[in-house]
């Protein structure tokens, strides 16, 4: 098996045994990126110099450790990762998928990145995203969409579609995404990989470019559940630079990985099985719930009565927060500037040209909702319904340890299929936004394939700081099923007419 096919824990084992060097693993990924990324467009920026320098340093640490096993060895020494392009890596361009930040090079670094760097990770590059993480398909990137590795005519989901596609196509060992309304879990489901949204505040948001500040979380996208636990371990924890980071100690997440579910109570919310969802998705999720029961879980139906109001609540609160957060892009201190006759014209032109259609749509929506005369009817109303959605989960988690449901109502849709109808696109998030509104944690794991061969995701939701619970259920399910071993058939033979490594960009 080639190094790029290994999980993070497998790669660490091969490195530990000295069978391969971190430079060799990194070179294998860089070669694969060069061959396949012109087709997939998972990366916006590839950083081979940085990656190889980090890999060489990691190899020096492996050598020192082998000479003297008492030498401290960082936990992710030599693991090549991809980072969503809304998370700042110092000195590496961070575009947020937007023309307005096309040439922005952050002079500082996100806390999650500092921690991964200290853990010995290698950064392969920055991955494609819907502009400012606003979208469910990666089609809102100003630099063109990412393609789904399982079917190149379909979207990878979004907004962390670049990270999910990179993990699914073995263009990195693991990746970071961000999840404001499902942007880690939904693309993970559509690409057949694992995606974990931590509890709000579990991972520092310092250095993450803000979209919806009461909703945003950084989370891992990985090839299996064990890897998700490993990455979360090193990015989680309180941070003095983020006042909303949760001051609770970080448990050892890998200890939660137990392959049975005896004594675990699993809730199934009937509101998450709705008319109009793809029957094969419902079928696969229902079968997955039977597997959980066979593993020893007690399965109980638990209602979340305000679910139907989650989508309008989210699409009021998130754009309102976005309209405030994106006010900073004024062409003064960084980013694009289009000079007008007056400073006011400069603001208007810079923002009018620099932002894409969906970002402008959400800024308009949020500005309207927060404007005089409409604040109570829209924004305050949505915040009150948000309270009811939180209470639904609080009451549910008094009875069960986790809730399970589909991650997405459909498998990957076709490129262009929903771009002209914003409401249709927003429906892709219908099962994931509740976790962000309630501030709880959730994970998506592969649970089957539809008749087109497209992956289906099972979502497991847990209470605030319940990461160990969702990891345990996800791990037990994964170990009992074959889905995570499947990889997309990405070869030149399977896609005739598309030459590999030509540098060609589609879309």
């Amino acid at each position: 098996m080639a190094p790029h096919a290994w999980t993070i824990h497998e790669t660490l084992e091969h490195l530990r045994r000295g069978e391969i060097s971190a430079v060799e693993v990194t070179e294998d990924y860089l070669t694969r990126i060069e061959a396949l990324d012109p087709i997939l467009h998972a990366y916006l920026t590839v950083t081979p110099d940085l990656a190889l320098a980090q890999a060489r340093e990691a190899d020096e640490r492996w050598v020192a450790w082998r000479r003297d096993p008492t030498t401290p060895l960082p936990p992710l020494n030599g693991i090549p990762l991809a980072i969503k392009d809304v998370i700042c890596v110092q000195g590496v361009r961070c575009t947020c998928g937007s023309r307005i930040l096309e040439n922005f090079v952050p002079p500082y670094e996100a806390t999650a990145i500092v921690r991964l760097r200290e853990a010995g990770a290698v950064f392969l590059g920055k991955t494609n995203t819907d502009e400012f993480a606003m979208g469910s398909s990666t089609e809102n990137s100003a630099f063109g969409p990412t393609r789904n590795p399982w079917d190149l005519e379909r979207v990878p989901g979004g907004s962390s579609g670049g990270s999910a596609a990179a993990v699914a196509a073995d263009l990195c060992a693991g990746a970071l995404g961000t999840d404001t309304g499902g942007s880690v879990r939904q693309p993970a489901a559509l690409c057949g990989v694992v995606g974990l949204k931590p509890t709000y505040g579990r991972v520092s948001r310092y250095g993450l470019v803000a979209y919806g500040s009461s909703l945003d979380q950084i989370g891992p996208i990985t090839k299996d559940v064990w890897d998700a636990a490993i990455l979360l371990q090193w990015i989680a924890g309180p941070d003095p630079r983020d006042a909303t980071s949760w001051p609770a100690p970080v448990p050892d997440y890998t200890r939660a990985l137990i392959p049975d579910l005896k004594g675990v109570r699993v809730g199934v919310p009937p509101e998450y099985f709705i008319p109009g969802m793809q029957p094969e998705v419902e079928g696969a999720v229902r079968e997955a719930i039977e597997v959980l029961a066979e593993l020893g879980a007690e399965v109980i139906e638990v209602s979340l009565p305000h679910t139907a109001y989650a989508l309008p609540t989210y699409y009021m609160i998130a754009p309102a927060e976005a309209s405030a957060n994106l006010a900073r892009y004024d062409g003064v201190k960084y980013g694009l500037r289009i000079q007008g006759e007056t400073i006011w014209d400069t603001y208007r032109l810079t923002r009018g040209y620099g932002f894409g259609p969906e970002v402008k749509r959400r800024i308009m929506l949020g500005t309207y909702a927060l404007s005089a005369g409409y604040y109570d009817a829209y924004y305050l109303k949505a915040q009150k319904v948000r309270t009811l959605i939180r209470r639904d989960f609080e009451q549910a988690f008094e009875r069960v340890d986790v809730m399970v449901c589909p991650t997405s109502p459909t498998t990957a849709f076709r490129l262009g299929e929903r771009t002209s109808d914003p409401l249709q696109m927003y429906l892709a998030d219908i099962f994931t936004i509740t976790a962000n509104l309630a501030g709880i944690c959730g994970i998506s794991v592969p649970c089957g394939f539809d008749s087109q061969g497209l992956p289906i995701g099972l979502q497991i939701l847990g209470p605030a700081l319940g990461e160990e619970k969702i990891l345990r259920v996800a791990y037990a399910y994964e170990q009992a099923t074959p889905w995570h071993h499947r990889r997309p058939p990405l070869t030149a033979i399977d896609h005739p007419g598309r030459s590999l490594g030509s540098g060609e960009r589609f879309g």
Partner: protein, 102 residues
């Protein structure tokens, strides 16, 4: 609470919101957003079904608390780093057009 929430947006309202948000829009964009935002706002009408009379709003899911740190001077970021992304700079400062009229 106004009864007339989620009415269709007029072109003038779209222009007013765009001005509040400092967004230059083309004529085509104004028509498109008037139509799309009206549809989205219509969808929000669903929220009016919910009785929230005794429900407090949620602004953050975290328990509200103050976070303190010792007030000690730290290492500032070098000025050149802060200026490196500036569209225009002069004498170690960000350069902008006049904000105040004469």
């Amino acid at each position: 609470m106004p009864e007339e929430v989620a009415m269709a947006l007029s072109r003038e309202e779209v222009e007013h919101i765009a001005e509040l948000a400092k967004l230059a829009l083309t004529d085509e964009e104004k028509s498109l957003y008037a139509e799309q935002l009206s549809a989205i706002l219509g969808y929000f009408r669903k929220l009016q079904e919910v009785d929230t009379s005794d429900i407090p709003p949620t602004a953050t899911v975290l328990p509200i608390r103050n976070v303190f740190r010792p007030d000690e001077p730290g290492e500032p970021m070098p000025r050149e780093w802060l200026l490196q992304n500036a569209p225009a700079q002069a004498d170690g400062c960000f350069q902008v057009q006049p904000v105040l009229e004469e």
